[in-house]
């Protein structure tokens, strides 16, 4: 089975070498899916949360609960960027997890212009632009060390009253766990060639170029997470998360983006995460080092079902290769001991469920408490 994983990785890399292209139509997921990811320098190929499912569909395999999420931000001062998404593990993820998201990016007040008799520009009218993306993802563990996923994406773009286009594309991804505190992720976005799908305008057909995302998540300590991505179309991304308290995480990130054939620009981001029971609130500030007006605020609100209490916290380590048992943290050890003691008397149904839940958590790898959604 391990050989199988390697073959898949080699196949995907071959696809990258054969087909990577720059330019073309934009994939709006490159803005960053979720405030947490944006705070972490837009690194999410291996982030294993619900938002990341729509970047690397293999991330869906890490979801254990029904999840609903939303995000709002503003690009270029006045262009709203909104995202809603949901994840549905089938039979607690044993049959994989399905994710669905809808992303919308709008630009309003685009002026139609002409020159007047004196040669000065004059506005005639204005129109709006909408860029929408519907994604359906599926991810599943294929063995204790690897998970696969795929996403079908439906793009829709419209210049109001001027032109419109729509089209499909496909993402594929893999997660690989070489050791208990390291996760590698690889995603190939927009695999379909232009003749098969992509954006069909009235007069032209535009390719959404193939993009490679490779990433890793490393957790040197339980309360620290380091994350990084390489994005063939968008440069290098890196971030760190520090879980200060069970309910509080601080984040920082940076990214180095190409700004021309031989130039790059480095941008920074900061963020904070708050969680209580099944609710997660994340905030990110993206600092554009070239133009301060491009700096933006992003907000995410997510919900996991069923609700968790603080005794069975939502901040347990994330899912692991199912046959590898990660060392328990002090908090977990105490919880397990307490549960075992209580288990001597016939437990009520609720507690059986709780115990079951804890057993599952003990099999999780040492990602930080905040790494799961």
């Amino acid at each position: 089975m391990q050989n199988c994983s390697y073959k898949i990785i080699i196949f995907l890399l071959w696809g990258v070498i054969a087909g990577i292209a720059y330019g073309g139509a934009l994939d709006p997921t490159r803005v960053g899916m979720g405030a947490r990811a944006i705070a972490l320098g837009r690194s999410q190929a291996a982030a294993r949360d619900l938002f990341s499912t729509f970047v690397n569909p293999a991330n869906a395999s890490a979801l254990e609960h029904y999840g609903f999420t939303s995000m709002y931000g503003t690009l270029a001062e006045d262009s709203p960027y909104t995202l809603i998404g949901a994840g549905f593990p089938i039979r607690e993820g044993t049959l994989g997890t399905v994710g669905v998201s809808f992303l919308s990016l709008g630009v309003s007040g685009i002026q139609v212009t002409t020159f007047d008799a004196t040669g000065r520009a004059q506005p005639l009218s204005s129109f709006d632009y909408n860029n929408r993306l519907l994604t359906v993802s599926y991810g599943k563990e294929i063995n204790p060390r690897a998970a696969l996923g795929a996403s079908l994406k439906y793009f829709s773009r419209a210049f109001e009253g001027q032109a419109s286009a729509s089209g499909f594309d496909l993402d594929a991804g893999i997660l690989y766990y070489p050791q208990k505190n390291l996760t590698l992720g690889l995603a190939l976005q927009n695999l379909l060639p232009v003749d098969w799908a992509n954006l069909a305008w009235a007069k032209t057909r535009e390719d959404i170029p193939l993009n490679l995302k490779m990433g890793l998540v490393f957790t040197p300590r339980e309360d620290w997470l380091l994350i990084g991505d390489y994005d063939s179309a968008g440069g290098i991304h890196a971030g760190a998360e520090w879980v200060v308290r069970k309910f509080l995480a601080l984040r920082g990130g940076m990214e180095n983006l190409p700004s021309g054939k031989s130039s790059t620009v480095t941008n920074y981001s900061l963020g904070v995460g708050l969680r209580y029971a099944g609710f997660n609130f994340d905030y990110a500030y993206y600092l554009d080092s070239l133009i301060s007006a491009n700096s933006s605020h992003f907000f995410s609100l997510s919900l996991e079902l069923p609700f968790k209490t603080m005794e069975t916290p939502a901040i347990l380590p994330a899912r692991a290769p199912s046959q590898e048992v990660a060392p328990l943290t002090q908090v977990q050890k105490k919880t397990v001991v307490i549960t075992k003691k209580k288990a001597k008397t016939p437990p009520p149904k609720k507690k059986v469920a709780a115990k079951k839940n804890i057993k599952k958590k003990t099999a999780l790898p040492e990602l930080t408490r905040y790494s799961r959604r």
Binding site: Y22, G23, G24, A25, L26, P28, R30, V31, L75, A76, E77, S79, L105, V107, G109, I110, Q111, V112, T113, T114, F115, A117, T118, G119, R120, A121, Q122, P123, F127, Y129, N131, R157, F159, Q162, A163, A165, L199, W201, K203, T204, E206, G234, L257, P258, S259, G260, K261, S263, V265, D288, L290, I291, S292, A293, N294, S296
Partner: protein
């Protein structure tokens, strides 16, 4: 009584007709295409109609936007012609910005008797400077004025009189000078918008700059990725005080024709954003 009334009516009609004929504006507008108080004419009927004018401005085929007023001096000689008024080589419109030391040039010519230097003058904010051999080249008819304007609003006007006594003056042209920080007063627009670089179409990013300044135009895509940077030197295209038009051919710094999308052009000087516009590309 009826006879007296008839005589009175006749006098009225005669008086109205005479009043119409002696009005110099009427005389000039009879040569066609003039309207309002700004015009170019000579003292004789039907001469000197060299362009079209509406309102208070006069526009020649070359786009010169200034008018000439004249007083009627019936000598049989045409009044001086003032044309090609430019500030640092650029035609400006009312209330445009120019730099404080702009060089103003204009063509001032006369068909017969020649320009009388001592009776001709340059008026800046109601201060008159006479034509001299150093600022007026009688051979070429080029008038040159080296500006040294303070921060604020100003008005410029040329008064020319020929040796026959005919008089002409340009329409007073208001303009502005700024010595403060670089700014873009008003909006930034690109023309045409949308545009199609797929067929070689280009768009011009247009804006008024209040002073000469080093300017960079950054063009971002909708995900805030920089795809094009255009540098404009101070005093050059895009960095000149006054109205600027900067061409973009829709080619990114990645040497590709950009995709259908909306792009944000941000005009920056000294690390400060001065203006922005939204450019739509539809191929």
């Amino acid at each position: 009584m009826k006879r007296a009334a008839a005589i009175f009516c006749l006098l009225l009609v005669y008086g109205a007709a005479w009043g119409y004929l002696i009005n110099p504006q009427t005389l000039v507008s009879s040569c066609g295409s003039l309207d309002g108080i700004s015009f170019h004419s000579s003292s004789s009927l039907g001469e000197g109609c060299a362009g079209k004018a509406t309102g208070t401005s006069f526009i020649t085929e070359a786009g010169f936007s200034s008018g000439i007023q004249t007083s009627s001096v019936p000598t049989g000689d045409a009044a001086p012609i003032i044309s090609n008024l430019k500030f640092d080589g650029q035609v400006i419109l009312n209330d445009d910005y120019i730099k404080s030391n702009a060089v103003i040039t204009a063509s001032v010519t006369d068909d017969a008797s020649g320009i009388n230097l001592s009776l001709s003058s340059i008026e800046v904010d109601s201060t008159f400077t006479a034509f001299t051999a150093s600022n007026y080249n009688a051979t070429t008819g080029i008038l040159t004025y080296q500006g040294s304007f303070a921060d604020g609003n100003h008005t410029f006007r040329i008064h020319a009189r020929d040796n026959s006594g005919n008089y002409a003056a340009s329409v007073a042209l208001p303009f502005r000078v700024s010595l403060g920080e670089a700014q873009i007063p008003g909006t930034v627009l690109n023309v045409p918008n949308p545009f199609n670089p797929g067929i070689g179409q280009r768009t011009e990013i247009c804006y008024q700059l209040n002073k000469d300044a080093e300017v960079a135009i950054y063009i971002f895509n909708t995900i805030n990725q920089l795809i094009k940077k255009i540098n404009c030197t101070a005093g050059g295209t895009g960095g000149r005080a006054g109205y600027n038009k900067v061409l973009w051919d829709g080619i990114s710094d990645f040497a590709e024709v950009v995709a259908n999308d909306v792009y944000f052009a941000r005009i920056v000087s000294g690390g400060k954003q001065l203006g922005k516009c939204k450019i739509a590309v539809i191929k």
